[in-house]
Point group: C2
Chain length 234, copies 2
Amino acid sequence: MTRKLYERVGKQDDHRPSPFSWRARYALAHKGLEIDEHVPIKFHDKETIAFSGQGLVPILVDGAKTVHDSWAIATYLEDSYPDKPSLFGGSQAFAHFMNGWADTVLMPAIFPLVVVDLHANIAEDDKAYFRTTREKRFGRTIESFAADRPAFEANLAKVLAPLRAQLKAYPYVSGAEPAYADYAVFSTFQFARCASPTPVLAADDSLRDWTDRISALFGGLGASCLRLEEADAA
Amino acid sequence: MTRKLYERVGKQDDHRPSPFSWRARYALAHKGLEIDEHVPIKFHDKETIAFSGQGLVPILVDGAKTVHDSWAIATYLEDSYPDKPSLFGGSQAFAHFMNGWADTVLMPAIFPLVVVDLHANIAEDDKAYFRTTREKRFGRTIESFAADRPAFEANLAKVLAPLRAQLKAYPYVSGAEPAYADYAVFSTFQFARCASPTPVLAADDSLRDWTDRISALFGGLGASCLRLEEADAA
């Protein structure tokens, strides 16, 4: 059986800023499932994934089964591989809440801090598509949208309060051991790390200890940020 | 064995706006444990609870054991009554995160919407203490702090996004069944309901379906907002 993961790429095939791609990678790694083929997909490239009946990545092709959407991939893996370590650490609802929190709270807080660099770090032939779609959404230029950095930094500091409280009480968001609730949140920081050379967390930020520990899991999966072959070799 | 709960009261002994008091009540009810005596404590009344070695309520006296802090009460009950239904629905870490989210995100979003009414609805001999301590914290009058209601309403709408996403996917925050993650969040809405006659959620808000279902649990425990005897009679 062949297992393929179709993933968004940035400036080159081994640059993967998409948080949803990282969620699928961590879910597969947590389950101990190898990926036989990574298929790089650019923003404007819709034809290669038309077979899935929709236009978004990641898409997992697991033998005869095609699954798109990172959350659907996680629940598919949990249901299909019940003998492998559980992705949800006792509560799928917890993983779902953190996934939603990452998407509706953390990502909007981080996105403005990295979007200008993200645009600079995607493939040249993706830039027009990215700029047009995002500027339509923002109602102004990317640069104007992201201009008030101190306000966005203050907002991020506020948004991180419940995450900090959690990681003071437990080694991982999920509790004693890492699970999908961690990966959902980590993937958003990983997005920032792959999108921009300017860290969204200061070097001495206590959350760094947790992001470092998640990054180091599964042979240093998170360190394969720009160079896919590093993870493959790990 | 006698079980006593020392709780903050508002304008009269059967008026309990404190979210922390509601958390302790729901935790005890979920565990099926009766409360033999509710001891009302006003804001300025520190002498009655000096025996606990600190100045905050709720305090649970469970036979020979004294526990203060609503989270400590929850974990104490879970550990001491393992044969009763679990409070944490498979993940204590989940309950802890939602508890922290309620305290660091939801409460700061709701508090400005109800604080003027809360002050109006506490005991006359508590008002000076309440006003002085809160105005010291805000750096201005309660009324000035709460003045920009449209901005606070807009902020609350934003803050509720991950809760709405969760309750679209599951009947309860905790998943298929209610547990402490629900009570921690519900208690904050219950605080608002007991503090102010102006609802923070519109009558047709979809979250009302969930708050109504939590309120109806344990013989309508949440409906005992102003009238303690209603819950006792239920």
